[in-house]
């Protein structure tokens, strides 16, 4: 298997990750580790995960997102998930699966706005 890596982009004091690929154990763990590292190095206040390209979120992916949310919180930053599709949200509700370790915002723009409010 190719050595994949999910790019992390810095915008001001936020880190942005757009998930464009199928997540699996190794990739998720790598992402979690490098995010924590980058939060420490850049002193980022927020991490934003864009999942608008993810068409199906099952309980496994939810666990990964929650774990990332928790680890970011341990580093003193706030984690936002943006771009959850309506059908995905409905499905998560019906499954009774909670995305409770992350904050959510409709769009990247709104997440940045909320993070800015937090800091002022």
């Amino acid at each position: 298997m190719k050595d994949q890596q999910i790019p992390i982009i810095q915008i001001r004091n936020c880190l942005l990750v757009s998930i464009q690929t199928e997540l699996h154990d190794r990739l998720a763990l790598d992402l979690q580790e490098s995010l924590m590292d980058r939060v420490r190095v850049t002193d980022a206040k927020g991490v934003i995960l864009d999942v608008s390209a993810v068409e199906v979120i099952d309980s496994y992916i939810t666990r990964i997102l929650n774990d990332i949310g928790k680890s970011v919180r341990f580093m003193g930053a706030v984690c936002y998930i943006v771009g959850i599709r309506p059908a995905v949200a409905m499905t998560l509700i019906e499954m009774g699966v909670e995305l409770d370790s992350v904050n959510t915002a409709l769009t990247l723009d709104l997440a940045l706005e909320k993070l800015e409010l937090l800091q002022s």
């Binding site: 690929t21 199928e22 199906v56 599709r85 019906e94 699966v97």
Partner: protein, 238 residues
Amino acid sequence: MRTVENEIGAILSGTISAITQRSIFNRLGPLATRPVSQLSSADRLAVMAELENSVRLFARRNSADLIASCARVLGTDGAAGAAGGPAAGAAGAGAPGGGPATTSAKKLPIEQEKDIATARLEAWSEAVRIGLSKFTSVKVATAVSELARNIVFYAGRGSVELRTVRDEKGASGLQIIASDQGPGIGGPKLEEIWAGTYKSQRGMGKGLVAVKKLVDEFQLETAPGKGTTVTCLFRGER
């Protein structure tokens, strides 16, 4: 030399997400990585038929234009229209007699992580094809994702079967049968799972509960050492 993936990917990017493109190419199997110029005309038609279905499902706009561009690249412009016609109406086969009847079935092997995505996409397109709503189709894809993941994580290998069934009223529903010959689930563990107290190493331990909540009918057969079979049904919506 440009492969099918290169050529088609260039056309689809911007309209269809990278994840979905990946799944579409997985469905094409070895054909996806062959140079377009080396494909036989039968191969080209097979690729085109697959692409037509996927593009129509997943492109939010311009699907006709995209399909036409794909056909041009593959050199099947003339035949592509003909392939689309009968395929679109294939769900209409009548059920003999009363009661639910299977009108089509597809069995997918689940052996590695990439098979999860393939099964999910396959289930999604099947759900849309038989006329389930957009939301329900996402639920179908999510349920299949959970079941296929369980197979890969806990049994190693198994299969997911998708069956289109017709009820007495003529509505088409989708039956999903996920089975494996893995370790099975013992009584105490099963109680924990249904009580929501089970914690798995890799997931949330809530996959089966989640599937049960998503589907209209749910049946689980399992015993330690005897493997696991989950049978569930999404009812038709008409």
